[in-house]
């Protein structure tokens, strides 16, 4: 497994408020990494920095062995796809048009090619939103929108997918479907990093957990190690405890 993304001593502040303080980690192909942490812990900021939307105050980000600053914006987009936490799309684009925007970094054609349309359709079918393709994005429900946005990320066909709370607004069946799909992407060689608050989804589908707290990566472990030391649960609430499902998988519950 080679490192696709390498974050080295990254710090970031909003004015005088420090959010990230010398954060470092490496992640490679085939990993499905859950980025965990309480509200305001810097998960979205870290994803913004890795995707290139924000510039780190200090530190560096390396993508495929080359400094992020040496890649053009478009070259980064060909390698890293980012699903922001909130996309409003107030102007009346259809679901299909929005997913089609995922093909932007790959073509200079005025209109998408048949190959692009095949990929758009495949992505929408994988996220179960092909039936809504002609509907205006802002007429969709929260869950339908989230599936369309996820399809846009998949259609972008990048090696790394950065997803900021991808299961937001999804019903339970769709949450399972979403994380299962991301695990499948990882198994096919992609790197998926998902910021999430759902610890059980992370434990069930991800390969690695990374907990951000007080501006640093407080815990970084493989999911298989999660039950060995429960200290990391205390970062979220003192009422959390961990047991196991009948199948033996780790499971977090409230006391």
């Amino acid at each position: 497994m080679s490192d696709l993304i390498e974050v080295e001593s990254v710090s970031f502040s909003y004015g005088s408020r420090s959010v990230l303080d010398s954060v470092s980690f490496r992640a490679g192909e085939g990993e499905f990494l859950a980025l965990l942490g309480i509200n305001g812990s810097g998960k979205s900021t870290l994803l913004d920095i890795v995707s290139g939307f924000r510039r780190a105050g200090t530190g560096s980000v390396t993508i495929e062995g080359r400094s992020q600053s040496e890649w053009s914006r478009r070259e980064i987009a060909q390698r890293v796809s980012h699903l922001p936490q909130a996309v409003h799309a107030d102007l009346p684009f259809s679901a299909e048009q929005l997913v089609g925007m995922g093909r932007y970094p790959h073509t200079d054609r005025w209109f998408e090619s048949d190959e692009d349309h095949k990929r758009i359709r495949a992505a929408m079918e994988r996220t179960s939103c092909w039936a809504q393709r002609r509907r205006s994005f802002h007429s969709l429900s929260g869950g339908e929108r989230q599936r369309v946005l996820l399809a846009a990320c998949i259609a972008q066909d990048a090696a790394a997918l950065l997803l900021d709370e991808p299961s937001t607004f999804l019903d339970i069946e769709q949450q399972l479907h979403c994380f299962s799909l991301l695990r499948q992407e990882a198994q096919e060689g992609k790197l998926c990093i998902a910021a999430t608050h759902d610890l059980n989804l992370a434990l069930t589908y991800c390969t690695r957990l990374m907990v951000l707290a007080d501006g640093v990566i407080a815990h970084d472990m493989q999911v298989t190690e999660a039950h060995e030391n429960k200290e990391w649960l205390g970062r979220f609430s003192k009422r959390l405890d961990m047991g196991a499902t009948p199948a033996g998988s780790p499971w977090v519950w409230y006391r």
Binding site: A77, H82, W110, F111, E112
Partner: protein, 335 residues
Amino acid sequence: MSATQQLTFLTRYSLTLSLAVFLGAAVLLPWVGAGPISLARVLQHQSPDYEIFLQLRVSRTLLALVAGGALSLAGTLFQAMLRDALATPYTLGVSAGASLGAVAVIAAGWETFLGVPTTWIGALAGALGVLILVVGGAFRRRRISAFSLLLTGIAINSICAAFIIILGGFAGISRSFSIARWLIGSIDATSYVSLAVLTTVVLLVSATILTQARSWNLLAVGERWAASRGVQVGALLLQGYVLGSILAAGAIALTGPIGFVELIVPHLVRSRISPDHRLLMPCAFLLGGALLALCDAIGRIVMPPAELPAGAVLALIGGPYLVWVIRQRTSAEEI
């Protein structure tokens, strides 16, 4: 029929229709006016029909087509940049700056400079001043965002509006009337040299804007969305603001601050044809030009021998239309 074929068919259909409307307006509307013009007399170069047709009707129809197209495209562009279907060159202060410049020279009593109407020079200088102020004010930590552009634009808009009122108060009755009339916006006969300059600038700027149509699509969804799909957001916003301002300022310099065309046409095209800027922008340009030329023609015939300014006709038609459109919207379309 594949998706590409469907899109190509829709493109050809809507673009062809818009082009037909634009050309139809260019050919037919010069014949509309308070007095009839004989085609035979025009073809034989006989006075006064030939002069009225060529020097007055054709030039103002062409001016309306170019200015209307420029304003409509500028509106479409600013709406994409600010992700707001109600954004116009007025929102970002460009029109107010151009108006202040023109009002200042009217109030000062300057009419021409080296044969060029000073209102043109004043409007262009005012728009350029606002452009520099807004872009300078919107830069924060070497970055520019749509939000900072909007806030700075609104602030400069208010300042310009205040100065226009102050200048109007000191200008005297005759010049105050000229100021009020200029601020309504109208299409007047203009020299073909001026028209050629405006047309060249508008076509070059419009073509540059159109080449970025896919990027405007992404920016219309969101800055973070566009950035993570490969768009240089800051550079694109800056480019859009400068190009949109040139379009608006060029049109306003020759016609005054005509409103509504940049609001109605993009809305109509977006809802009836496509929100995709690859179609929306060329169609908005063509139909915006045709609408302004039509309003100017209506203004020539509703109460002859007097003429109603095109800006007033547009407001009288556009205002009720906009209210009707808003009432037709379903709750899902509310934005």
